[in-house]
Amino acid sequence: MYPSAFEYLAVRSFDEAIEALGRFGAGAKVLAGGASLIPLMKLRLAEPSHLVDINRIPDASYVRDADGGLVLGPLLREADLEASPLVRERFPILLDTTRVIADPIVRNMGTVVGNLAHGDPANDHPAAMLALGAELILAGPTGRRSVAVDDFFVGLFETALAADEVVVELRIPAPSRRSGGAYVKFERQVGDFGMAGAAVVVSLDEASCVAEARIALTNAGPTPIRATAAEALLAGRSVDDDLVRATGEAARQDIEPWADLRGGSEFKRRLAGVAVERALRTAVARARGGSDG
């Protein structure tokens, strides 16, 4: 399969990228890891007039500590996230997540921010970032703005990112002292679209009750979503088997996943509940074990 013709511009800075996107107009697309865009172009499901290649912008693939939280550069590859000692030690939920994205070779190119910016509810980082309460820094012709990840996903393949904006940083707040997170996805095989996935981050208080819980679901509707009813159920309570089951049940009540060849809506709803249960168990265990996020 052969993509249609386009004009190509490799930029050296985000300002240059923003200027180019404005100049080229709606037909232009940003090229980062290409993991989603290039297959779409080969199938001619995407036919951009221009590609603005941001891969040559220097110093944009960092992962750094920021007062106990994380800041991630827009060109950080999945493989680098996975290899980061910071992530491995303090954010096992991100390790859970990156390891189930596409396959290891694709993860050498695919970027964390691209996984978010594509706006695909089947992608994995959206749920993880929703659970972690991340924020995205967007840059456009009029300057920079911060968007909470809760406000980022607007519709199917649609985000708060304007056509002439780029994501320049992803920020994950510092988790509280006794918190833990986990991501569980059910997929038929490596590289397949997930049937269901759930990200859970819980913070425990001194009495080991849930001080705060954030739960988000993959592939549960047109956008990645929070399971707020399930979160509310956990608040202030000690997590036991009954509560885990009730939380899964609450999460599954909330959603209307699409049927596809991997299964019907009810099937996916059930799997989402199981994913929440299993992620919750791991998250709580990690919180009790003292590990962060």
């Binding site: 399969m1 052969y2 249609s4 013709a5 297959p39 199938l43 001619r44 059910f186 038929r188 095989q189 490596v190 590289g191 397949d192 679209f193 049937m195 060849l261 991997r262 299964g263 019907g264 099937f267 059930r270 799997l271 199981v274």
Partner: protein, 790 residues
């Protein structure tokens, strides 16, 4: 040093490992033009105008062809792979058969999504693709039929108006008095079983390169084909030039598994247009095209009835089955009759009536793929045995044991003809020992313990087994031409090409052993109609048996010639000459002799002296014709765990016990088995092509149609048994397909057994999580009051 039966490393590896393999898309020809194919987007539609002017005017476009522009060159022609079965078989089963045709491009209508409608020829594949999208086709859509049972009913949309119905083939096979068997039965069990449509998915797609030969007026064609000789024959008819001017080469081929044994429209149109334009033309299949335009596999629906005694003894079997051939029954009875011939399998079934309806539908043509009707047969037979065991409340494996043929019953006449029309007489093997060995190798005690001890809550455990027989080494016959060069190199030329089966190694082992030369001095030339104009193709687990024995025959003949020529020159009796490691010498005087190459030079035309008794040079051409097929057999067994929360299935252990006669190269045999099992696991766990009611394929990409990955594989154990065949001098049986044949049946038996422990029932594959949970839901719906579920 003996090389037959030894796991020698492969001769063909080196070039493939360093990137020097030459697959069709690697064939470089200066100035080649590229073809893009415009394919039907509808499953059934009348073609109106095809507007090509805009495409023709686009950059780089050299030609745009349609059925109309090709005129009589377009056909229809008799389909090159539609061969009626052996007359001996026809005389017994009197099948109703509808001959098929092939068109280079669809003319009056399209019959499936993906059917070629037009081609664009351009200087570059990107430009060809651009222009192909500018070809506009007017379609008038017609009613679509995708369900074979509906297609067989009166009033169904017709694929071919002149047929009057969609029945491509129909036959009945009878053994014994089946009515009496059912009257006598203690128990009759009925079950519908469907093995869904899948696709073999070789990692290399198809491809064709055609270079006109101005000197001869002919053409050289490279194709990723298992059947270069059949393609040559097809081209002879289509191009209207003598076959000797058409050279078809199958170079390195990146897997075939059956779908490269067909002759496709693309393989005919590329040479046709190359000659028309007098230009070199190439076409490379894409994966998207391969999904809709290369043949599919399986897709049979069986309605089975089995008559049993209370102790599980089978008295009789009835099966009425549909083969969904898709839009064209391109291989006649290959799969439909293979299924019938293999249905009784390793079992003792006194009476049978098998009725097959092969029906056209608006889907991609469906034909032979690894196993070719046998996985379907085994899936149906083992499926009815599962149902029978459940009905009789017998252990599923135990029911099989009671009905499996014993070694002392061999040879056993199954009482029906094989596809070649010869009585199906199973020629040996210890089938019950295979079953016992397979179950023993599972080591069930250890596997089952955690479940018995409650250590795996929410997980179900199940065991399954399935057996198979496989008629291998089908004729008619193959030949081998062997030449000893003055360099000492031995060139073995055979017809059928390799798609990974290790011919260059195993064939060389046979020649080296039989002729007495060193393995490294033997070179295999294959898959080139110029090198050897005859060959029946690498299909049907036949080349090791038929080509291998042809090489053995020619090697033995050549050995005699060598001994006589050497005896003449050394002035001793032929009985006093020996050949070892590529050297002839006098028995008892090893220093008196010469290398084979030197001997070859002494009798070679243009160098040596004509030995009237042996003819020119040290060459031999001989063939092998098997009396009928020889039956390989085996049993697969597995233990599985089912997660009741997610519906996921994990295969804890998978065991293969198989018997393919004498092993030429155990390493290669094991590789073939492992690959086959993996393809079978694909069918069992993941693979199903899904069509909607409009005939659109819904999962035509490797994103949506998953095949097994390294992370999906269970632990697999392979155990060999060697019962030599007495139907060929080497005592071998084929093995290329065997690994894939019983896998879906073994897996569904195990998963079904696991689900049965909680009253759930599942009898189809792939065992997707959604299907497993549906089965569990259906079971709990049966056992719980409605209020409790709400």
């Amino acid at each position: 040093m003996p090389v037959f039966g030894v796991p020698v490393k492969r001769v063909e590896d080196r070039r493939l490992l360093v990137g020097d393999g030459e697959y069709v898309d690697d064939v470089r020809q200066a100035g080649a033009l590229h073809v893009a194919v415009v394919r039907s987007v509808y499953a059934h539609a009348r073609i109106g105008e095809v507007r090509t002017a805009a495409a023709a005017a686009m950059p780089g476009v050299v030609a745009v062809e349609t059925a109309r522009s090709l005129g009589p060159l377009n056909g229809p022609f008799p389909h090159p792979t539609w061969f009626p079965p052996a007359k001996a078989l026809q005389d017994i089963i009197h099948p109703k058969l509808r001959p098929e045709v092939i068109r280079l491009l669809a003319d009056d209508k399209v019959r499936y999504v993906g059917e070629p409608v037009a081609i664009v020829v351009a200087t570059d594949p990107y430009l060809a693709d651009d222009a192909a999208r500018a070809v506009e086709v007017d379609y008038e859509t017609l009613p679509v039929v995708v369900d074979p049972e509906r297609a067989a009913e009166p009033g169904s949309p017709l694929l071919n108006d002149d047929w009057g119905d969609n029945l491509a083939a129909h036959f009945v096979v009878d053994k014994g008095d089946v009515e009496a068997a059912f009257e006598r039965a203690d128990r009759i069990v009925r079950q519908r079983i469907h093995l869904p449509r899948s696709t073999p998915t070789p990692i290399e797609n198809r491809g064709v390169v055609a270079v006109p030969d101005r000197r001869s007026g002919g053409v050289t064609v490279w194709s990723a084909s298992q059947q270069p000789h059949w393609l040559r024959d097809g081209l002879e008819r289509v191009l209207g030039i003598p076959g000797d001017l058409i050279r078809v080469v199958a170079p390195d081929v990146g897997g075939g598994f059956g779908i490269k044994s067909m002759v496709y429209p693309e393989e005919l149109i590329v040479p046709t247009v190359a000659l028309r334009l007098d230009r070199t033309i190439r076409w490379t299949d894409t994966r998207s095209e391969n999904f809709v335009a290369a043949t599919h596999a399986r897709d049979q629906i069986h309605d089975l009835e089995i008559a049993l005694r209370a102790d599980g003894t089978i008295l009789g079997l009835r099966d009425r089955y549909f083969v969904d051939a898709g839009a064209s029954n391109v291989e006649c009875l290959v799969c439909p009759y293979n299924t019938a011939a293999h249905l009784p399998g390793a079992y003792r079934i006194p009476a049978m009536r098998l009725e097959c309806l092969t029906v056209l539908t608006n889907k991609t043509p469906n034909a032979a793929a690894r196993g070719a009707g046998r996985p379907e047969a085994v899936f149906a037979m083992e499926g009815i045995l599962d149902a029978a065991a459940d009905a009789l409340e017998l252990d599923r494996v135990e029911l099989r044991r009671r009905n499996t043929l014993r070694a002392d019953e061999m040879p056993y006449d199954q009482g029906i003809p094989y596809r070649d029309g010869v009585p199906e007489i199973l020629d040996g093997g210890d089938y019950t020992a295979c079953l016992d060995d397979a179950i023993a190798a599972l080591d069930l005690g250890a596997l089952r313990r955690p479940y018995e001890e409650g250590a795996r809550p929410g997980r179900l455990f199940g065991v399954g087994a399935a057996s198979y027989i496989e008629g291998t080494g089908v004729g008619p016959y193959e030949s081998a031409l062997i030449r000893i060069q003055p360099s000492g190199r031995v060139i073995v030329t055979v017809g059928p090409p390799s798609q990974g089966q290790s011919h260059e190694t195993t064939f060389a082992q046979i020649c080296a052993e039989e002729l007495g030369v060193r393995l490294e001095d033997v070179r295999i030339v294959q898959g080139d109609t110029l090198a050897l104009p005859w060959g029946g193709g690498t299909i049907a687990s036949r080349t090791a048996v038929v080509v291998g024995n042809a090489i053995a025959a020619a090697s033995r003949g050549l050995r005699e010639k060598v001994l006589r020529a050497a005896a003449d020159l050394l002035e001793v009796a032929p009985g006093d000459v020996r050949i070892e490691d590529g050297r002839v010498s006098v028995v008892g005087s090893p220093s008196v002799g010469m290398p084979l190459g030197q001997l070859a030079a002494r009798v070679a035309p243009g160098i040596g002296r004509l030995n009237e008794a042996i003819g020119p040079g040290l060459d031999e051409y001989d063939g092998f014709q098997p009396p009928t097929v020889t039956y390989a057999n085996g049993v697969h067994a597995c233990a599985v765990e089912v997660d009741v929360e997610t519906g996921s299935v994990e295969i804890l252990k998978y065991v293969v016990v198989h018997d393919c006669g004498r092993l030429i190269n155990p390493m290669v045999v094991e590789g073939q088995i492992m690959g086959g099992v993996t393809q079978g696991l694909g069918m069992a766990l993941f693979e199903e092509l899904v069509y909607d009611d409009d005939g659109q394929l819904l999962n035509g990409s490797l994103m949506d149609y998953g095949i097994p990955r390294a992370t999906d594989m269970p632990p697999i154990e392979v155990h060999h048994r060697e019962t030599p065949s007495d139907r060929n001098p080497l005592g071998i049986k084929g093995v290329g397909e065997a690994g894939a044949i019983p896998v879906p049946a073994a897996v569904i038996s195990a998963v079904g057994a696991a689900l049965r422990t909680v009253g759930a029932e599942l009898r189809t594959v792939p065992v997707t999580p959604a299907r497993v949970l549906d089965a569990l839901d259906a079971a709990s719906a049966r056992t719980q009051p409605v209020e409790a579920r709400a």
